[in-house]
Amino acid sequence: MTPLLEVEGLHVWFDLADGGELHAVQDVGLTLQPGERLGLVGESGCGKTTTALAIMGLLPPSASAAGRILLEGKDVLAGGEATIRPHRWVDIAIVFQGAMNALNPVRTIGAQIVEALELHEVVRGAAARDRAGDLLESVGIPARRAERFPHELSGGMRQRAAIAMALSCEPKVLIADEPTTALDVMVQAQILELLDGLCSDFGLALILVTHDLPVVAQLCDRGVVMYAGRIAERGTVEELYHEPHHPYTRLLFAATPDLDDLDQPIVSIPGAPPRLDRPLEGCPFRPRCDRAFERCETERPRLRGFGDGREAACHLDQLVSV
């Protein structure tokens, strides 16, 4: 089956004010099948959001990129804006963190949904307004709220409205960038449930970008763990949780407190991610790793496959058999 989305060897650099460059994404690849749900996991600044934006061609002017991004077999990165734009929203859509400014504050949410509908010629005029109302209802917002401005809605409702807008043109892939961060726990659960339901009902493929592991565990089939702009490990969610290869993955999952086991000591990962504006020697995780040894200092680990989509970039997996 042709994957819906294939990313190969993606690199992204950002120009810095002092003339240097930040190598934010380094040789990232992933595949997405129709209906599949992929979690893109990592700390802030690890490059996951940048990867998501690159997929949609939304990098800022200060960026440069290399690699291949194949949407249904067509390279949309090489083709530039003209190639990707026709696919935006109709084939692949994105929902940002529903903070105040992801929606235009001076236009009503109804108008913004209608804009998407009319732009892609799904419906026009009064039909578009009705459809916007239906979309809002489908995410649990009363249709009459379409006349409201974003600041008049709560954070959770804004997020739902953004989801409604993203699905308005029936895309095949939905990218959700930190959809539950900045929402309180109850609302988080509701949003996740909503996403779960919508993806199932419409057979959407989902890329869930987040630092929040329980979310990935709940919603996704497969996961990709990123660290310092590179892929640390990938596999199914169960594999990552129960049999992590990469120490970072292991520590990430361990760092999430388990409500059922209150005696468990709280684990945190000391230190901070490395700077990405200069080339690194060795493994980027070494300073914070609890299992590092000499080789980690000089040689950067390559991403090794273990079959069945299972990969990890760590020298350890040569020594340890799982």
């Binding site: 939304l58 929203w89 940002f96 903070a99 236009r107 804009e115 732009l119 807008m165």
Partner: protein, 320 residues
């Protein structure tokens, strides 16, 4: 009505400010030392009748407190005294002067807003290119030029091509309508151009800054993600938001416009409010000076109020 109390608050503030301005006006002119200033009836060459009438009208032989009250009363009737220079009511002089000034200032301001916005958007759009540097440099350059000096420069450049003084050609007696219009148009060009050039730079900088700020907002990214074309995004999402500070700026600029008008009218001998102030100063025509000053202050207050309300209407986020 949304934010009725906001509107009321701004209205109240405007009223109080006018009141304060009136009081300052009174204090400045009546309480300042020097009898020439305190006495509105000292119109040179006035008849005894006129003097007595003015003294009675303004209660000039009563206490300062009583004079203040009477002054307020007279203001409400639109009586600003009589000009020392031409012995006409100050209010009449001012009205004529104002009618002369408004078209010139209006044209100049329009020019500056339009050109300023255009250049500001271009500068933001073409960030980091020579176009931006050029646009910003020109804006700063013109902005730094003293208004009257720029007027003089334009006169030097355009002398012989465009009229450089006055509002009309005095030698045209009873011209037909269109000749008259053309005459006015050619005379208004240089003064309003001067005003426009001096003012536009500030708009360029503000619009550029607001645009850059707006273009960094998340909803621009959302708009791009939706598949909108860049120029559509600028027009429909960014421009609207970026123009909000412009509304405030227009109000703040009014002080400069008034000052600029004074200088421009002096350079181009334009018979408007600015020139009236200048000549009143030269001739120590205190009633005119007092009246003009009051008029200018009140118009700035009104324009500030309008700008406040406009901003309030444009930005749905303001609800206080």
């Amino acid at each position: 009505m949304r934010g009725a109390d906001y509107v009321l608050k701004r209205l109240a503030f405007a009223v109080v400010t006018v009141f304060v301005a009136v009081t300052i006006n009174f204090a400045l002119f009546r309480l300042a030392p020097g009898s020439a200033v305190t006495n509105l009836s000292r119109v040179p060459h006035a008849t005894q009748q006129l003097r007595e009438a003015l003294t009675k009208q303004f209660g000039l032989n009563k206490s300062k407190g009583a004079q203040y009250v009477i002054y307020l009363k007279q203001l409400l009737h639109g009586n600003l005294g009589v000009s020392f220079e031409n012995e006409q009511p100050v209010s009449t002089n001012l009205r004529i002067a104002l009618i002369n000034t408004l078209p010139m200032v209006f044209l100049g301001t329009l020019f500056s807003i339009v050109i300023g916005t255009l250049t500001g958007v271009i500068a933001a759009w073409r960030r980091g290119t020579p176009t931006e540097t050029l646009t910003v440099s020109s804006a700063l350059g013109f902005y730094s030029m003293p208004t009257h000096w720029l007027g003089l420069m334009l006169i030097i450049i355009f002398a012989g091509i465009l009229p450089t003084g006055g509002m009309t050609n005095e030698f045209l007696l009873n011209p037909p309508f269109w000749t008259h219009v053309r005459d006015l148009a050619s005379h208004i060009t240089l003064p309003s151009l001067t005003l426009g050039l001096v003012l536009y730079g500030e708009y360029t900088l503000i619009v550029r800054s607001a645009m850059l700020e707006t273009l960094g907002e998340d909803y621009i990214l959302t708009a791009r993600a939706k598949g909108l074309r860049p120029w559509t995004i600028v027009r429909r999402h960014a421009l609207r938001n970026a123009m909000l500070p412009v509304a405030t700026l227009i109000a703040l600029s009014l002080g400069y416009i008034v000052a600029g008008a004074i200088l421009i009218e002096t350079v181009f001998s334009w018979p408007g409010i600015g020139r009236a102030v200048y000549e009143a100063v030269l001739q120590r025509d205190y009633p005119m000076l007092q009246g003009a000053f009051l008029l200018l202050t009140i118009s700035v207050v009104i324009c500030n109020l309008v700008a406040d309300l406009l901003y309030f209407k444009l930005d749905p986020r303001i609800t206080e």
